[in-house]
Symmetry: C2
Subunit: 431 residues, 2 copies
């Protein structure tokens, strides 16, 4: 960021406007940068991050001390901490992004039309992306890397508790961009912790093409409501597994257990288990025993509570609100449903349209589930925990979109681009 | 629309909320409808439109009389009129949509991942689309047809001056849907001319997935600013043709003439002509003579005005505002630029990012123009007038998006869909 911009920090509105203009200008340069130039920048940034690991840790220590004295809880302090391992993994992430194919400029579907013109689509950057996120400083490097590789300029607004860590990472990024001959303004990390900066960013509809908030539901809803710039949302994950009449019992137990317990705090963790009535007595007691042994609380519908009680397994009566709660904790809600139609109806009513999986050996019902469930990831005989950019082969992700427009599910490089039409003629005119 | 909804017409907010819920319910049915069922509905609607041509014309006559007594101008009255030819063409349009391939359910990129799961993308409807448009009643049939074929439910809010025509067309659509066994609420045409209905539609973020306004810039900007629902915008077309140093003179004259004069009132008409300094003296006087003979007013930059004056061709001095004006009239602004870089800089500053074309025989510069011009259609040696859904092979279009997210350029069936991820496993769990 140049001195001119820095000097306007006392006037937040002016500062953010200047950041927006600088980003728009930089977006033209990075939009036409060659793949090798972008990859050179990514690997230079990775080198600098490793080289300056001690500097990063010192800056991070200032944030950690401030965080402790502000009374941040342990989970937040843990997310904020830059360990050696996390620094290496940040650099590794950037090298992985460099190794991904460049989506920009890819031309598809180029075909002749009856008029004689040839029409196709070219993948192009979105332009300027603003990312508003909370505590983890590694997001600064990840997000910068993904936006850079996809040919976008980016404005990063991290959590105030990570300001020193983020500025130290920003320094590595800017130096890396310059080594590759790219403008430093391709990645700008907001230099103030003033909360007014977020409000100003949301008004930059001429300079910013899309805003991606990463954080709690409250943050995302506030940004969506206030923003004049289009937003790609990553809301909560109320994910379902449905065990069908024709489920293979071993797969059902394994997938339903993994979907809930492999990690509790992630958005692709199953929160509600649906079980077909016909197999409930065979499957549910076994599965509930596995959950109970793992310390997972079961919130059961009336039928399943009765079934579990008959098998001497403890459960809590589910209330209506359980069907729309993202626990992010060792709790699972369980409902016995009549059949696949009832399961799909329940999912389409209560799901957050994130990820749902059916366990079945039945060909027709697997197709029905894939077609009729309106979620960003729909699975057959696989754990919901697979809904993730790395697992899907995107290389990295900037979030998981629960929107329907533009991009659904894990957002990788392609989600940060758009397609324009190209037309090739030989002097063709319209008759 | 059922009697229950009609009865709430005195309470606009309640009425629109009910319309939204009915659309959401209907979207599930049409989302899983088979291709043949949707095509059957389209061809039944086409038949009914032809069969009831006299009824449509009678309803239209009421609108025309009311329009004349309200003092609508001739252009508006012309757009409002349903002639026999337009009725046939509406029906023909629906049959063409029926003949297009169904995008819904198409699976692409299904590939195995190292974990053993198979990951791909399935094309799915957006859900519920609301379209807000002005006078042309044929939009009612076109928009309904495109939304239906792409598996979406649609809420149509036409201009108040076309209310009787639109309701008569709506009757044909509803009867056609029922013949094919689809819910009549798949297509709902708002039954009130109360302007409050638009405001209510813009608040339906739980029932409506996207709003597409079609009409003047004022309407579109108001809707974009007010809407809580995502909007796909079709703003103005300030389109450019750039005649490069290495342009073939014959192609340059032909394309630049066609781009301006083939039709004046369309968004893909060229408004500004850019000419490389090196060829201006060879090309511009010839071209200006052709424009002058056609009655096109020339608003020229200083250099080009001098050049034209030396050739005894009249022109007006262009002012700064000419570079950002969509004339929609026999007027062209002309600027001599130093080279392709100056042309691209001018375009990226003043263009509405709709459509731009370069005339050149130079391989490298054609590639530079295609890559660096950030517009929804970028052309080489072809008339800007080709930027159109029919010409691009989309079969039909619901508008031309000047947005960058989701869809750019002509919006056909695919633009009304999204993609979700599908994952196929055999009991796979995440380690």
């Amino acid at each position: 960021m140049n001195a001119n911009i820095k000097s306007s920090l006392h006037d937040i509105s002016r500062y953010i406007t200047d950041v927006g203009h600088a980003a728009r200008n930089a977006s033209r340069a990075v939009g036409r940068a060659s793949t090798s130039q972008k990859d050179k920048a990514l690997s230079a940034i990775a080198d600098l991050i490793i080289e300056h690991a001690e500097t990063l840790k010192k800056a991070n220590a200032i944030d950690l001390v401030a965080g402790r004295s502000k009374g941040l809880d342990d989970a937040l302090l843990d997310r904020l901490e830059l360990t050696d391992e996390r620094i290496v993994s940040m650099a590794e992430g950037l090298r992985q992004i460099a190794a991904l194919p460049d989506p920009v400029g890819t031309i598809t579907d180029l075909a002749y039309r009856p008029s004689g013109i040839q029409v196709g689509k070219m993948r192009v950057p979105l332009g300027v992306i603003a990312i508003i996120y909370e505590s983890r400083p590694n997001v600064t490097a990840d997000a910068a890397g993904l936006c850079l590789k996809s040919g976008n300029a980016v404005i990063l607004r991290g959590g105030s508790e990570a300001i020193n860590s983020n500025q130290a990472i920003a320094k590595c990024i800017k130096d890396g961009l310059e080594i590759a001959g790219l403008p430093a303004d391709v990645v700008q990390v907001i230099e103030t912790t003033d909360r007014a900066a977020v409000g100003e960013l949301l008004r930059l509809k001429d300079s910013v093409d899309v805003i991606i908030p990463r954080g709690g539901k409250g943050l995302i809803e506030r940004i969506t409501n206030e923003s004049e710039v289009p937003v790609i949302k990553h809301l909560d994950g109320i994910c379902h597994v449905y065990i069908d009449d024709d489920a293979d019992q071993k797969k059902a137990l394994s997938v339903a257990f993994n979907s809930k317990t492999q990690r509790y705090g992630t958005c692709n963790t199953m929160e509600t288990l649906l079980v077909a009535e016909a197999v409930a007595a065979d499957v549910l007691p076994l599965l509930a025993k596995m959950y109970a042994d793992e310390g997972v609380e079961i919130r059961a519908c009336e039928k399943s509570q009765l079934l579990l009680a008959n098998n001497n397994i403890e459960s809590v009566a589910a209330t209506e609100s359980d069907w729309s709660t993202e626990y992010l904790a060792p709790i699972v809600s369980v409902k016995i449903v009549q059949n696949i139609d009832a399961a799909i109806a329940h999912i389409n009513q209560f799901s957050s349209q994130h990820t749902e999986s059916i366990i079945t050996e039945n060909y027709t019902r697997s197709r029905q589930f894939l077609r009729e469930v309106d979620s960003s990831s729909v699975m057959v005989n696989a754990s919901t925990r697979f809904a993730d950019g790395f697992e899907y082969g995107l290389g990295a992700e900037i979030g998981i979109s629960t929107d329907k427009l533009h991009v659904r599910g894990p957002v990788g490089l392609e989600g940060l681009t758009s397609q324009k039409y190209i037309v090739l003629g030989d002097g063709h005119i319209r008759q």
